[in-house]
């Protein structure tokens, strides 16, 4: 089986501070993979190495390989922009662009990358993306409004639609429900469940219960080390490592 993402001896450091220590991980296709661990364990950093967005942080240094569908994205001839088009991202803080309308927010990636030929094609793609993100019904009459009036959950689904419009194969989600209310959280989680039929989703969460609810596979990261990885059911029922068990029972925070 070919994996969506594989890392080989992945090391990430900020200056002298090593935050990811020789991680080897295999993320299967078309499933939800949850990276869980306490705050500051390096999970967001690791997630950001999967689409090279980590490069925006000038102190971060990546060693080792990250293979996306077999291709090492850190090899010399790879353009990070192409990686980012294939690997979409959703963030901890719902961040639709505040100066663009709902419509423009979904269209911006396509427009900037000149990926669309006609207005009709664009309208079509925007409707498709918003439908996929489960948002079309709620906002189809408000496409020209600005996102500031949307609820947190709606904003986050708008960001998901913005990523989906680029037709990525993988979606990275960095604690996508950390800043939204319980109703919004449920809708986003339902959406993730729906999306995994077609996309590989890598989700960072600090909540073991969320990982248990929506993931198929889970990796437990603790202070930069990958302690345990496997099927969610198996890890939650019979963790092999004592650290994992302590984390799942809420002793490690």
């Amino acid at each position: 089986m070919r994996y969506a993402i594989e890392t080989k001896d992945l090391n990430i450091s900020y200056g002298d501070n090593r935050v990811i220590k020789g991680v080897n991980i295999e993320i299967p296709q078309k499933a939800v993979f949850a990276l869980m661990g306490p705050s500051g364990c390096g999970k967001s950093t690791m997630l950001r190495s999967f689409n090279r967005i980590l490069e925006l942080n000038k102190d971060a240094k990546v060693d080792g390989e990250v293979r996306v569908f077999g291709q090492n994205i850190y090899s010399q001839n790879v353009n990070p922009m192409n990686v980012r088009r294939e690997v979409g991202m959703v963030f901890q803080y719902p961040n639709p662009f505040p100066h663009l309308s709902i419509y423009e927010n979904v269209a911006i990636g396509l427009k900037l990358n000149r990926l669309i030929r006609s207005k009709d094609e664009l309208d079509e793609r925007i409707r498709w993306s918003l439908e996929k993100a489960g948002l079309w019904g709620e906002i189809k009459d408000r496409l020209r409004d600005y996102p500031s009036d949307l609820s947190g959950g709606q904003k986050q689904r708008l960001v998901i639609a913005r990523a989906l419009a680029m037709k990525p194969k993988i979606l990275l989600m960095d604690e996508p429900t950390a800043n939204i209310d319980p109703t919004g959280t449920r809708k986003v989680e339902d959406l993730i469940f729906e999306l995994k039929k077609e996309y590989t989703i890598v989700l960072v969460t600090h909540s073991p219960s969320q990982a248990a609810r929506i993931s198929d596979h889970v990796g437990f990261l603790y202070v930069g080390d990958l302690i345990e990885v496997g099927e969610t059911k198996k890890i939650f029922e019979s963790p092999e490592s004592e650290l994992t068990e302590r984390y799942l029972t809420g002793e490690l925070v």
């Binding site: 689409n51 925006l56 922009m81 980012r84 991202m89 963030f91 505040p98 100066h99 900037l112 990523a163």
Partner: protein
Amino acid sequence: MWAFNLRGVKDLVFLSTIAVLTALAILPLLHIIYMVFSNGIGAIMDTGPIFITGTLGEGGIGPAIVGTLMLTFLSSLIGIPIAFAVGIYAYEYPDSKIGKATTTLLQIMLEFPTVLVGLFVMQVLVIPMGSYSAIAGAFALAIIMMPYVAVYTKESMSQIPFTFREAAFSLGTKRFRALFQVLAPIAKRGILTGVLISMAKVAGETAPLLFTVGGLYQTYPDGLDSPIGAIPLLIYTLVQSPNPADHAMAWGAALVLLVIFLGAFIPIRMSLKEVKL
């Protein structure tokens, strides 16, 4: 009970001190505006519409108004695009050698004596061209406005939350497009404020024009390579005259300058929408 009262008294003393200091700071400004209006309105009323449209010989300041508008427009045309690009560069590469040097240079230029800019432009443009000119004045004003635009651009860009930067780049966008088509529009209000302040500043400048534009008040300007006038420069010239009629005219010109400034600045500033984050 006693402790509570003491706190209340302290609060009151603090608030009233702040109020008095604020009033002291604003008072001179209001006084200037009042003086300009009360002295200027008479001069304009006495002459009538000719004051705005006529040449100096006819008792008007028309050529100076046209000159100020032309100089402001031309210097903006030269200065703003360059300064905007410099500001974006300084924001994007703050740690590079050129980025650091640019930031330092901009801070020096902000406070650079404007009369020296005039002298410099005289050396490099006026003397080789053999004549005062609108283009020399515009060039001098452009040098003065650029640091404002660049610093405001850089600062407004720096205030954009990092998450929007990540979002822009996560769409696979080229750096150039992410900066100019996504991030700069988010910082639009701050950047345009810098542009307006810089335009207001150069519209009111006198020193850089002393050795560059020549001054032209008896006829309307007829080209970019020939002399031109400006309201502040005209005021400076008129005030030096011993004739009280010239002083009255200077007040009138000052009022026109103030009206142009407030008339342009306030509506634009108020129409700029804040981007709600």
